[in-house]
Symmetry: C2
Subunit: 361 residues, 2 copies
């Protein structure tokens, strides 16, 4: 049950710093199996999109990760993995794919719609996800920039939110988006959730390639023109890419377009987790009263302990008398902290960078 | 200022199970630097005894550790390191040395005194220690079995105690020992300390070799006779050793001899620590509000943390938001626990043995 003319765009970037030392710039989060299902986040993302897009998938990743991405997704052609010469945030990554698809649509007179989905999120109910994407694609064909709004399960201060407006006429459950709001404080997030009007912005955008690029052009004509120039002459990628601004698609397009009444949303009532840190990983893995092992359970001996243990070095780990602890054991670096302090892991990475330990970060 | 005719006997045994994974049967506690001074406990023991015994030192250790002991104490002759064919506890180890020394005293018509001191204790004031041994040796020449009683600094339930009796006439501070008592409960230990009559039994015994063996013979004539037979015919060690009982010198000799009024004690008011577990190691290393690193401090990045970290694998260790934590990182095994649970480390070792992981224990 694929969607006609639907292309899945998968930006695969970001070091996942708060998941250090498992995730690093050289081996980022999306290349890891963080669910214990034997499949990496990237592999799971591709599998989730296959029923919608078949082989119409474009992964956009850094030069240094291109080989790893191709190794994990051997069914994709070489052309399906676009390499960014340097990190330029999500607008450039998704915009590059959009420019290629816009060109292809014009050359072959096709009606294409693209949907962009991060390579490192976990979705526990793929059927419901696929349903939401189908509804989003239908609205996108009407010319909307469509985002999937995740039903918030708690007042998280870690995500951006979107405010839902009136239903679209004949929009099969799609609503106008009034505004996007950045990560709120917990009290504000509580108001959002209580109001029933707000949903999490999971960065899932569905649109015609031309709609997306035209919206970008309204804000930054040079940006859109440069992306279109690269699509016209792919050999100029190395020359033109460094000129692109580093900006997220949310700020570059979604926020101004929402203010102009051009964004719609469809509800996504599936389980979603961005696994931003080891606390989130603990929630994902389950039972809070036990030690959750991501990897070989036989490598861990736990007594009177709970938390998350990642044995990724082949060594035996003994854990006694600690609750909500986080132990991540890799061949060259060890992290010991608590789920409560999971956000502070990025400070360690910053400190290591200051010390010039690029080998570890 | 050595003591005439004084021999230091150093039983070097015990796996130090509660210091796993640093200390193991294949690499026991006494072979490690647990003080951060760049010298192992065995090396420090030998240095502490040198002013008293010069090169009159006998180390008694297991076959498998003989090479390591000799490598750490290169100034000792091959004959100075006695190898036990199998572990037989402290009476056999010290008794073997005593039997050799008794024989030598007789053959050369010498008046010898031996003092036995564990290879894996830490003594922070060696001058005061050496003074106590001198006074103990003087009482030993009068025919006493003399033990050095450590001034207790807190009501520890982890040590045995001895009860001091009346002063010996002309004994220069030596007292009779009324009794030895096994590890008490904390309330009982509190009474002991409050009474001022009790001291810690640190297993330091000083006596003429013949006095020690005769006291043993009173309890177990075969045991003493077998030790003397080995000293007479060293080639029979392998044949006779397995017949020896596994018993501590405290039970085999000290307790019954005290009951018979044959044991004296001199006070030892020096800093003493048996470093039995990682909590004791933490106390030894100092400041309780910081992370104490035994090893390369540059390998550890700590934030809002306190406790003991042993980086013994060359890896970088990051520690965030944990108090009184214990992290011991070796090439094949990692321990994460708290100082409070330090005693339970031996349960992990037992569990690993049950799993047949002799490679790790």
């Amino acid at each position: 049950m694929h969607i006609d003319g639907f292309w899945a765009v998968v930006p695969a970037g970001g070091a996942g710093t708060r998941l250090w030392p498992l995730s690093r710039s050289g081996s980022p989060k999306f290349l890891h199996d963080l669910t214990g299902r034997g499949r990496t986040l990237l592999e799971q993302t591709r599998e989730r999109l296959a029923p919608l897009a078949e082989d119409r998938v474009l992964v956009v990743t850094g030069e240094r990760h291109r080989a790893a991405v191709r190794a994990q997704l051997p069914d994709l052609s070489a052309e399906a993995v676009l390499a960014e010469p340097s990190p330029r945030d999500s607008m450039a990554a998704i915009g590059l794919a959009a420019a290629h698809l816009e060109r292809q649509a014009r050359e072959h007179d096709q009606d294409l719609v693209l949907g962009s989905f991060a390579a490192d999120h976990v979705i526990t109910e793929p059927d419901i996800f696929q349903d939401a994407v189908r509804r989003a694609a239908a609205a996108a064909r009407e010319g909307w920039l469509v985002t999937i709004g995740i039903e918030p399960t708690f007042p998280s201060p870690a995500f951006g939110y979107l405010q839902q407006g009136e239903p679209l006429p004949g929009g099969a459950g799609a609503h106008r988006v009034r505004q996007f709001v950045e990560k709120p404080s917990v009290p504000v997030a509580e108001e959002y959730v209580a109001s029933g009007e707000y949903r999490w912005n999971a960065g899932m955008f569905v649109a015609r390639p031309q709609v997306l690029l035209d919206l970008l052009a309204e804000q930054d004509p040079d940006f859109a023109a440069t992306l279109r120039a690269i699509a016209a002459e792919p050999d100029r990628l190395g020359e033109l890419w460094p000129r692109l601004p580093r900006i997220a698609i949310d700020h570059a397009v979604a926020e101004p377009a929402a203010a102009a009444g051009r964004v719609a949303t469809v509800p996504g009532d599936f389980g979603w987790e961005d696994v931003g840190d080891f606390d989130a990983l603990g929630s994902l893995l389950g039972d809070q009263d036990r030690v959750q092992v991501l990897g070989d359970g036989d490598a861990v001996l736990a007594r009177d302990a709970s938390g998350v243990v990642v044995p990724a070095s082949g060594r035996t780990i003994a854990l006694i008398g600690l609750d909500d602890v986080v132990v991540v054991d890799t061949p060259d670096a060890l992290l010991v902290t608590t789920r409560e302090r999971a956000q502070d892991v990025k400070q360690v990475v910053a400190a290591l960078k200051e010390r010039g330990r690029d080998d570890l970060t």
